[in-house]
Amino acid sequence: MTVVSIEKDFEALTMKLVAEFDASVDRVWQLWKDPRQLERWWGPPTYPATFEKHDFRVGGRSAYYMTGPEGEKPRGWWQITAIEEPTRFEFDDGFADDDGNPVEALGIVHGVVALDASGGKTRMTSLSRFESAEQLEQMMEMGMEEGIREAIGQIDAILAELGV
Protein backbone atom coordinates (compact mmCIF):
# COMPACT_ATOMS: atom_id res chain seq x y z
CA MET A 1 0.00 0.00 0.00
CA THR A 2 1.58 3.23 -1.18
CA VAL A 3 -0.59 5.75 0.65
CA VAL A 4 -0.16 5.30 4.41
CA SER A 5 -2.54 8.01 5.56
CA ILE A 6 -4.45 11.10 4.48
CA GLU A 7 -5.48 13.78 6.95
CA LYS A 8 -7.75 16.62 5.99
CA ASP A 9 -8.48 19.61 8.15
CA PHE A 10 -11.53 21.37 6.76
CA GLU A 11 -11.12 24.38 9.01
CA ALA A 12 -7.37 24.93 8.54
CA LEU A 13 -7.82 23.98 4.84
CA THR A 14 -4.93 21.56 4.78
CA MET A 15 -4.41 18.09 3.42
CA LYS A 16 -1.55 15.86 4.54
CA LEU A 17 -0.69 12.76 2.57
CA VAL A 18 1.82 10.21 3.87
CA ALA A 19 3.04 7.63 1.36
CA GLU A 20 5.75 5.01 1.51
CA PHE A 21 7.91 4.14 -1.48
CA ASP A 22 10.28 1.24 -2.06
CA ALA A 23 13.30 3.40 -2.87
CA SER A 24 15.97 5.49 -1.16
CA VAL A 25 15.44 9.07 0.01
CA ASP A 26 17.89 10.29 -2.67
CA ARG A 27 15.96 8.47 -5.38
CA VAL A 28 12.59 9.99 -4.33
CA TRP A 29 14.21 13.45 -4.06
CA GLN A 30 15.23 13.14 -7.74
CA LEU A 31 11.56 12.70 -8.67
CA TRP A 32 11.00 16.26 -7.46
CA LYS A 33 14.29 17.81 -8.49
CA ASP A 34 14.62 16.49 -12.05
CA PRO A 35 11.93 18.13 -14.25
CA ARG A 36 11.93 15.21 -16.70
CA GLN A 37 11.05 12.83 -13.88
CA LEU A 38 8.66 15.27 -12.20
CA GLU A 39 6.56 15.63 -15.34
CA ARG A 40 6.08 11.87 -15.51
CA TRP A 41 3.93 11.89 -12.38
CA TRP A 42 2.74 15.44 -11.51
CA GLY A 43 -0.16 15.43 -13.97
CA PRO A 44 -2.51 12.51 -14.61
CA PRO A 45 -2.09 10.56 -17.89
CA THR A 46 -4.90 12.59 -19.49
CA TYR A 47 -3.34 15.92 -18.37
CA PRO A 48 0.43 15.39 -18.56
CA ALA A 49 2.58 18.22 -17.18
CA THR A 50 5.50 19.79 -19.04
CA PHE A 51 8.00 21.80 -16.98
CA GLU A 52 9.57 24.45 -19.21
CA LYS A 53 11.56 25.84 -16.31
CA HIS A 54 12.43 24.22 -13.00
CA ASP A 55 14.90 26.11 -10.83
CA PHE A 56 15.04 23.88 -7.78
CA ARG A 57 16.71 26.13 -5.21
CA VAL A 58 15.49 28.64 -2.65
CA GLY A 59 13.84 31.55 -4.50
CA GLY A 60 13.93 29.61 -7.76
CA ARG A 61 10.85 29.50 -9.98
CA SER A 62 9.30 26.82 -12.16
CA ALA A 63 6.99 27.28 -15.11
CA TYR A 64 4.80 24.44 -16.31
CA TYR A 65 1.72 23.68 -18.33
CA MET A 66 -0.58 20.71 -18.54
CA THR A 67 -1.91 19.43 -21.84
CA GLY A 68 -5.58 18.48 -21.80
CA PRO A 69 -7.28 16.00 -24.13
CA GLU A 70 -8.63 18.83 -26.29
CA GLY A 71 -5.22 20.47 -26.54
CA GLU A 72 -5.95 23.08 -23.86
CA LYS A 73 -2.87 24.13 -21.89
CA PRO A 74 -3.56 25.43 -18.38
CA ARG A 75 -0.39 26.96 -16.94
CA GLY A 76 1.09 27.05 -13.49
CA TRP A 77 4.15 28.22 -11.60
CA TRP A 78 6.11 27.22 -8.51
CA GLN A 79 8.41 29.16 -6.29
CA ILE A 80 10.68 27.24 -3.93
CA THR A 81 10.66 28.91 -0.51
CA ALA A 82 12.88 26.51 1.49
CA ILE A 83 15.16 23.55 0.79
CA GLU A 84 17.04 21.09 2.99
CA GLU A 85 18.39 18.68 0.39
CA PRO A 86 17.52 15.80 0.22
CA THR A 87 14.90 15.60 2.96
CA ARG A 88 12.66 18.65 2.91
CA PHE A 89 11.47 21.54 0.78
CA GLU A 90 8.63 24.05 0.66
CA PHE A 91 7.06 25.68 -2.36
CA ASP A 92 4.20 27.88 -3.53
CA ASP A 93 2.13 26.59 -6.45
CA GLY A 94 -0.20 28.86 -8.41
CA PHE A 95 -1.94 29.41 -11.73
CA ALA A 96 -0.44 31.41 -14.58
CA ASP A 97 -1.94 33.10 -17.64
CA ASP A 98 -1.04 32.17 -21.22
CA ASP A 99 2.10 34.32 -21.00
CA GLY A 100 3.21 32.57 -17.83
CA ASN A 101 2.41 35.49 -15.48
CA PRO A 102 0.99 34.48 -12.08
CA VAL A 103 -2.79 34.91 -11.74
CA GLU A 104 -2.91 36.25 -8.20
CA ALA A 105 -6.69 36.21 -7.96
CA LEU A 106 -6.63 32.42 -8.02
CA GLY A 107 -4.38 32.27 -4.95
CA ILE A 108 -1.58 29.86 -4.15
CA VAL A 109 -1.25 26.46 -2.55
CA HIS A 110 1.65 26.21 -0.14
CA GLY A 111 3.29 22.79 -0.16
CA VAL A 112 5.70 21.20 2.33
CA VAL A 113 7.36 17.94 1.32
CA ALA A 114 9.43 15.85 3.74
CA LEU A 115 11.27 12.59 3.02
CA ASP A 116 12.32 10.21 5.80
CA ALA A 117 14.18 6.90 5.54
CA SER A 118 12.14 4.16 7.14
CA GLY A 119 13.38 0.56 7.12
CA GLY A 120 15.01 0.68 3.68
CA LYS A 121 12.02 2.57 2.27
CA THR A 122 11.16 6.24 2.06
CA ARG A 123 8.24 7.85 3.78
CA MET A 124 7.06 10.96 1.95
CA THR A 125 4.85 13.50 3.72
CA SER A 126 3.20 16.09 1.54
CA LEU A 127 1.26 18.89 3.19
CA SER A 128 -0.85 21.26 1.09
CA ARG A 129 -2.30 24.42 2.57
CA PHE A 130 -4.96 26.49 0.83
CA GLU A 131 -5.60 30.18 1.47
CA SER A 132 -9.38 30.11 1.63
CA ALA A 133 -12.38 27.95 0.82
CA GLU A 134 -13.18 30.31 -2.07
CA GLN A 135 -9.73 29.71 -3.52
CA LEU A 136 -10.12 25.96 -3.15
CA GLU A 137 -13.44 26.21 -4.94
CA GLN A 138 -12.07 28.23 -7.85
CA MET A 139 -9.14 25.88 -8.17
CA MET A 140 -11.38 22.88 -8.25
CA GLU A 141 -13.66 24.42 -10.84
CA MET A 142 -10.59 24.66 -13.04
CA GLY A 143 -8.91 21.45 -12.00
CA MET A 144 -11.89 19.26 -11.23
CA GLU A 145 -12.00 17.81 -14.69
CA GLU A 146 -8.44 16.67 -14.18
CA GLY A 147 -9.38 14.80 -11.00
CA ILE A 148 -12.33 13.10 -12.60
CA ARG A 149 -10.52 12.07 -15.74
CA GLU A 150 -7.75 10.71 -13.59
CA ALA A 151 -10.14 8.68 -11.45
CA ILE A 152 -11.81 7.28 -14.55
CA GLY A 153 -8.41 6.50 -16.09
CA GLN A 154 -7.45 4.55 -13.00
CA ILE A 155 -10.66 2.54 -13.07
CA ASP A 156 -10.05 1.74 -16.76
CA ALA A 157 -6.50 0.62 -15.99
CA ILE A 158 -7.69 -1.72 -13.25
CA LEU A 159 -10.36 -3.21 -15.50
CA ALA A 160 -7.78 -3.69 -18.27
CA GLU A 161 -5.50 -5.54 -15.84
CA LEU A 162 -8.36 -7.79 -14.81
CA GLY A 163 -9.11 -8.43 -18.46
CA VAL A 164 -12.72 -7.32 -18.05
Binding site: F10, M15, F21, S128, M144, A151, Q154
Partner: protein, 106 residues
Protein backbone atom coordinates in the same frame (compact mmCIF):
# COMPACT_ATOMS: atom_id res chain seq x y z
CA UNK B 1 -17.41 16.71 11.81
CA UNK B 2 -16.97 12.96 12.42
CA UNK B 3 -19.83 12.35 10.06
CA UNK B 4 -18.09 14.26 7.28
CA UNK B 5 -14.89 12.30 7.77
CA UNK B 6 -16.76 9.00 7.80
CA UNK B 7 -18.77 9.94 4.75
CA UNK B 8 -15.60 10.77 2.83
CA UNK B 9 -13.63 7.74 4.02
CA UNK B 10 -15.07 5.70 1.14
CA UNK B 11 -13.64 6.03 -2.39
CA UNK B 12 -17.03 5.67 -4.12
CA UNK B 13 -18.54 8.39 -1.96
CA UNK B 14 -15.61 10.72 -2.67
CA UNK B 15 -16.14 10.01 -6.34
CA UNK B 16 -19.88 10.76 -6.10
CA UNK B 17 -19.09 14.07 -4.38
CA UNK B 18 -16.60 14.94 -7.11
CA UNK B 19 -19.09 14.13 -9.86
CA UNK B 20 -22.03 16.13 -8.45
CA UNK B 21 -19.75 19.09 -7.71
CA UNK B 22 -18.95 19.42 -11.40
CA UNK B 23 -22.39 18.94 -12.88
CA UNK B 24 -25.89 18.06 -11.85
CA UNK B 25 -26.51 14.32 -11.70
CA UNK B 26 -29.53 12.20 -10.89
CA UNK B 27 -29.20 9.08 -8.75
CA UNK B 28 -29.73 7.00 -11.92
CA UNK B 29 -26.97 8.95 -13.73
CA UNK B 30 -24.67 8.08 -10.85
CA UNK B 31 -25.80 4.44 -10.78
CA UNK B 32 -24.96 4.03 -14.46
CA UNK B 33 -21.40 5.18 -13.73
CA UNK B 34 -20.66 2.32 -11.32
CA UNK B 35 -20.81 -1.44 -11.50
CA UNK B 36 -22.72 -1.62 -8.18
CA UNK B 37 -26.50 -1.76 -7.91
CA UNK B 38 -28.83 1.24 -7.94
CA UNK B 39 -29.69 0.48 -4.30
CA UNK B 40 -26.01 0.48 -3.31
CA UNK B 41 -25.48 3.87 -4.97
CA UNK B 42 -28.61 5.16 -3.26
CA UNK B 43 -27.18 4.04 0.08
CA UNK B 44 -23.92 5.93 -0.57
CA UNK B 45 -25.90 9.06 -1.48
CA UNK B 46 -27.90 8.69 1.76
CA UNK B 47 -24.66 8.62 3.82
CA UNK B 48 -23.48 11.79 2.05
CA UNK B 49 -26.89 13.36 2.66
CA UNK B 50 -26.73 12.62 6.40
CA UNK B 51 -23.29 14.21 6.54
CA UNK B 52 -24.90 17.18 4.75
CA UNK B 53 -22.37 17.03 1.95
CA UNK B 54 -25.11 16.73 -0.68
CA UNK B 55 -28.83 17.39 -0.88
CA UNK B 56 -31.45 15.53 -2.92
CA UNK B 57 -34.24 17.12 -4.91
CA UNK B 58 -37.13 15.25 -6.48
CA UNK B 59 -37.80 16.28 -10.08
CA UNK B 60 -40.51 14.20 -11.71
CA UNK B 61 -39.38 10.60 -11.46
CA UNK B 62 -35.76 11.58 -11.00
CA UNK B 63 -33.87 12.37 -7.81
CA UNK B 64 -31.28 15.06 -8.49
CA UNK B 65 -28.20 15.18 -6.26
CA UNK B 66 -26.78 18.65 -5.50
CA UNK B 67 -23.69 19.65 -3.56
CA UNK B 68 -24.49 21.34 -0.22
CA UNK B 69 -23.73 25.06 -0.42
CA UNK B 70 -22.37 25.80 3.07
CA UNK B 71 -18.71 26.82 3.18
CA UNK B 72 -17.47 24.08 5.48
CA UNK B 73 -19.18 21.39 3.42
CA UNK B 74 -17.79 22.99 0.30
CA UNK B 75 -14.27 22.81 1.71
CA UNK B 76 -14.85 19.17 2.66
CA UNK B 77 -16.03 18.27 -0.83
CA UNK B 78 -13.20 20.07 -2.49
CA UNK B 79 -10.53 18.58 -0.28
CA UNK B 80 -11.95 15.16 -1.13
CA UNK B 81 -11.36 15.89 -4.81
CA UNK B 82 -7.89 17.18 -4.04
CA UNK B 83 -7.22 13.93 -2.20
CA UNK B 84 -8.01 11.98 -5.38
CA UNK B 85 -5.44 14.03 -7.29
CA UNK B 86 -2.75 13.28 -4.69
CA UNK B 87 -3.61 9.58 -4.49
CA UNK B 88 -3.07 9.47 -8.25
CA UNK B 89 0.32 11.17 -7.86
CA UNK B 90 1.45 8.70 -5.18
CA UNK B 91 0.42 5.79 -7.45
CA UNK B 92 2.33 7.21 -10.39
CA UNK B 93 5.47 7.75 -8.28
CA UNK B 94 5.21 4.14 -7.14
CA UNK B 95 4.97 2.87 -10.73
CA UNK B 96 7.86 5.07 -11.82
CA UNK B 97 10.07 3.72 -9.03
CA UNK B 98 9.09 0.15 -9.91
CA UNK B 99 10.60 0.77 -13.36
CA UNK B 100 14.02 1.35 -11.73
CA UNK B 101 14.28 -2.31 -10.79
CA UNK B 102 13.61 -3.40 -14.36
CA UNK B 103 16.37 -1.39 -16.03
CA UNK B 104 19.37 0.15 -14.40
CA UNK B 105 19.50 -0.02 -10.60
CA UNK B 106 19.70 3.46 -9.07
Amino acid sequence: MDRIFQALADATRRDIVTRVSTREQSVSDLASAYTMSFAAVQKHVAVLERARLVTKERRGREQIVHPDPSMLRRAARLLASYEEIWRGRADRIDKLLAEDGKGMKQ
